[in-house]
Point group: C2
Chain length 283, copies 2
């Protein structure tokens, strides 16, 4: 079923690129216009997304679009929205794929409402530790969770949610505030922790190369993620992330003190509870 | 080549069990005697390790053994050593597979030297997040690192190192003190961190079940490890582990403060350096 005559994808990284591939395979939209800031990326896109129109100008990609998807990095989304709003048609719908929602929802709703465009914030939780259009794949969204923040425009909200569902995602409706609280806990703070742990190997690389096993490697896998992307995410959800980092730092200091004091019971409770929680996640 | 006429494996968890399977396949030893404290485990062993003698008494397993391998949990190793020493033959060699070395090396060297048995501490770095003889497999040691702490008895040291090498391990010689410093950094502190992160989901399980992706899951995989085993490891290497935990807690607090202060440069440097370090590990 055609949901949108034309979709404009603004930003062609892992998520934007995967969305283009998934939409092409889905018959949910007629045409796809794509925009990337970088000429090299546009060339790669023209190669990879045959049948999509790859544009050097936002206005060209957005022209006549029924759905505008903002899929550039978090802090650049409002800028791209401003530019997109200039060429957006009245009655169009806009959404985004950013990892934080409060800041984006506030700014973009304002920008688009002036042009009669309904903005429905989304966050498809389908990242990898790899970035860039070269890793895009059409089944990236399958079975992953997707947050949608309902806008006042109910039919626009429904259409955006429908698109993600048709791509195989499990859609959850949350306010931007609720989203940012959840995302800090399940994704942003773990990212910071993984990076902090990776830094243990800084200046001692040979030791880690020789001796570190899969435990260390798995625990630090996501530290390989794009720093610029994550910098922006951390900057746009500061209170929630800091709160969780302070909490974990406190837990570590508590465990450290217990270890120094040979507090067998504390240590065992800490580890047992962690294990039980982690095992329950898989039930 | 036969290295040892008889090997006694005292403690039949993942490591002890895997060692029995690997030795059986290697033709490095003539006979294998195994001991487990638990009757249920002994029954499972009798089933799994056909050709090995599964004993209810340490003395029986140790009798006539040329190599005694202490493969019970870290804090129980000295106790088992005491019992084993009573029946050990003069000129035998003993080793262990414990995750910490200073405490074990000191206690066990003392215990065995009185009986004319050379003790050569080992640490094959081949754990999994799963424990127990049911997960034992003969290729567990392949390509993993193994620490051997040289004893005064050079031929005993050589024989123990040779055994691990023959099983496909990369052997490194370190003093117990050096070992414990390294292990705290590459293994013990990461274990604590993974558990601390898993505790974020404690009391908020539904949220994590719905929304947590592979990032959180991989980062907390090792939190599923056996709490009793790890409690003993933490208790037997307290100073080195605490030092690293305090260091990571400090890094997290620093990052948290930078996020609160919107310190873009600090955040980017933190994440970039972590990424670079992690990528270099794979080079």
């Amino acid at each position: 079923m055609i949901l949108f005559g034309k979709v404009a994808i603004l930003g062609t990284g892992l998520l934007g690129g995967s969305l283009a591939l998934a939409l092409k395979g889905s018959k949910m939209c007629g045409r796809i216009g794509m925009w990337s800031r970088s000429e090299a990326t546009r060339r790669a896109c023209a190669e990879k997304f045959r049948g999509c129109k790859v544009c050097a100008e936002i206005s060209e990609a957005v022209k006549d679009a029924d759905l505008i998807v903002l899929s550039s990095t978090v802090l650049s989304i409002p800028e791209v929205a401003k530019e997109a709003a200039k060429s957006a048609k009245q009655g169009a719908i806009a959404t985004d794929v950013g990892s934080t929602k409060e800041l984006i929802a506030k700014k973009c709703s304002e920008i688009f409402s002036k042009k009669g465009v309904a903005f429905v914030p989304s966050h498809p939780m389908a990242g990898l530790e790899k970035s860039g259009v070269q890793f895009a794949k059409k089944d990236l969204f399958l079975n992953a969770a997707c947050f949608v923040c309902p806008s006042e425009n109910k039919s626009a909200t429904k259409a955006v949610a429908q698109m993600w569902e048709n791509l195989g995602m499990r859609v959850f409706f949350k306010t931007p505030k609720e989203h940012d609280k959840i995302a800090a806990k399940i994704s942003h703070a773990p990212q910071c922790l993984s990076s902090a742990l990776a830094l243990l190997a800084d200046g001692d690389l040979d030791t880690f190369k020789n001796f570190a096993g899969n435990g260390f490697k798995d625990t630090t896998r996501i530290a390989k993620s794009d720093p610029a992307m994550w910098r922006d995410i951390l900057l746009s959800n500061p209170k929630n992330i800091s709160k969780n980092l302070d909490l974990i730092a406190k837990k570590l200091s508590g465990l450290s003190a217990a270890i120094k004091a040979s507090d067998k019971k504390y240590i065992e409770k800490f580890l047992s509870r962690a294990r039980e929680t982690r095992l329950n996640l898989e039930k």
